[in-house]
Amino acid sequence: MTILLVLIPAALALGAIGLAAFLWSLRNGQFDDLDGAAHRILVDEDRPKRSTDGRD
């Protein structure tokens, strides 16, 4: 039964990682635009990406 000492923390940790990822994505605004996200996946991303500092 000592295997439980490994398995239970492992199971809990995996669950906690999932929870943390969800909370992070929520905080990160990934749930702010559900309809937009559904459509964006269909949008061709063929325009050139610009550098993030806004001065290219």
């Binding site: 239970i8 809990l12 999932g18 702010d32 635009d33 937009g36 949008v43 325009r47 806004g54």
Partner: protein
Amino acid sequence: MMTCCPVGPALDAASQFAGDLAPWVITRPDGSLELDLIIPGLSAPESIPLIEGALEQVPGLAAARVNFTGKRVIATWTDPAFNPAGIVEALNELGFMTRPFDPSHSGLDADDAQSRLLLRAVAVSGFAAANIMLLSVSVWSGAEGSTRDLFHWISAGIALPTVAYAGRPFFRSAVRALSSGQFNMDVPISLAVCLAALMSLYETFNHGEVAYFDASVTLLFFLLTGRYLDHLMRARARSAVSQLLSLSASSAMVEEADGSTRIMAATALQPEMKMLVAAGERLAADGVVAAGSSEIDRSLLTGESNPEVAAKGAIVHAGMLNLTGPITVTVTAAGKDTFLAEIIRLMASAEQSRSRFVRVADRLARIYSPAVHILAATTLAGWLFWTGGDWHSSLMTAIAVLIITCPCALGLAVPAVQAVASGVLFRNGVMIKDGAALEKLSGVDTVIFDKTGTLTLGRPRLVNGASITAASLAIAAGLARSSRHPLSRAVCEAAKARGIAPAIVEDIQEIPGRGLSGLFQGGPVRLGSRKWCGIDENDGQGLPEFVLMRNSRAASIFTFEDELRGDAAAVIAKLEDDGLRVEILSGDREAAVRRAAVALGIERWQAGVTPQQKLAYVEQLKEAGRKVLMVGDGLNDAPALAAGLTSMAPSSATDIGRTAADSIFMGESLLPVLVAREVAIATQRLSLQNFALAVGYNVFAVPIAMLGFASPLVAAVAMSTSSIIVIANSLRLGLIFRQRPASAKVQQPDVPDLAHLERRAA
């Protein structure tokens, strides 16, 4: 509405946001700057890359992201010297009109925060439920002794913080209800969750065999899901409605005694001030015209569809639209004393008299909540009696009863259906402000329509186009293209519809109350009233007309009529078929209302009705026991909208009309009224089915619990199945309306509609 000038799908010179953007710019914690813009015309997902691509080209802008759900774009930059006007210009070039907004001001931020809080609680309880369930499965499969104790302790470690965190929405609501001496559904929920957790903890301490940690957390998870769905639906409608509200602060240009002018807020206006009103502006206060003359569109105030000439001495009211010429108005009343304020006062009192509607779920909670407590108490007493005072097992059974009767499926029964319904309606161009509106809509037996702007589109259309030659129409369009007068616009639209390019007319002058004059190929041309063009007065038809004069001879007569919504007749016929009483209550002239009533086949109609009379009539119907759906758009409808059992307004309505109405429909079609009712009836039916399922489950489960057979396993299985059945039943609504696209499908909110709205809001 299309203008003559080909400047883009939704562009209208007067609707552009020309004000200072600086007050709307937000400084973010990291020092960068942010501007939020609303794009009401954003309806096609293909526009997302278009807009983001165009904004990437704006020099100095760091990032721009479209929020498609909220029809917003959020632009950020770091350089304080950057002028955000470039963003608006770039959007205008694409043909989108836009307005800045402040998310914290419009109440959307609070909604977002609440929604995130609930979603976090759902996530936490979901995580906890899954993990505890894993451990519980091990216990049920035979874990014993110290292993079982270990599992219980770990479960307790997860469950107790979860209950404390995720249970707060219910605890707060329950405390609020109890402190005001009432019961709501949250009281038994809170009791069950807390008692289950505490009792399980006690059992764990004493190496007991059963613990209900999984039940208490799973319960929270399901209930929070229901609550989140409910919230999501209301937040979506609110955000859509707040986007429609005109965000331009109401202000006025005031002329001082020394001749200088300054802009001041409408609220700061005082009587006797001189207010300059340019063509195309809305009046900010009531007053008397002191100089100049123009035509005034008062359709939103009175329902009158034809513009009226206002010369010196004419009385004008706040909210009217000045169409043709600049006027100076001496303010007679501002702020609280205006006609507008009177309407708002009427509306407030109408809302108070609105009988308090009790939602189905609340009605049920009033019976259910005490019933649950009585059952639990009876169980406790019964077991104490049978077992001869065995407190432990009696308490255990009583708590099991509380857990198993806990309205898990009941908590989902209504929100789940209504969330699906609001999605169906949203796709059909209807925004429902809350679930109660759906419940009310399903019981409606009388529909009262306003005419101007509701049954009609609120804008004139050329009706005798067939008898007008292409040459005449081209000259008329050439004259009319520079005018904001609704009839001029109708001429332009008619020319455009026939593919006729406006002729080049020079030296155009607009004479308020008369018409337009100019030079075409060297000869004088005029487009205006009969009187001005020297023709006999009206032949009695009563429709607005324009005469086109070419070289001092009348070339053609243009006749206009306020256009009925394309499918109005069909929708009315269907409503009457369904046994509803349909009426028109309009502030417009009798001839115009009669024509509309005849065209639509409506027998009951009233013309020339004041806002007070509209309100009184709706109240009277209500007293006679009728359930009234009021559909209207104007200021004059607002009190009646507030008084009706429920109400709908087109998206082109006044701000006040939209605020007063329970739901808003988009587009040029009247079909959403019909669809909304159909969906509401289906929603109500499914809600009741869900209740029946949930109550049926209780009838089955309660005896089991009372007899003491509700082990944690039974509780977990029973709760989950009943919730899943209820959700599955709710999802059927989406299927019902997907299979019947013919009756449910309507035109999506399109660009012309929004341009039309903007014209009215401008």
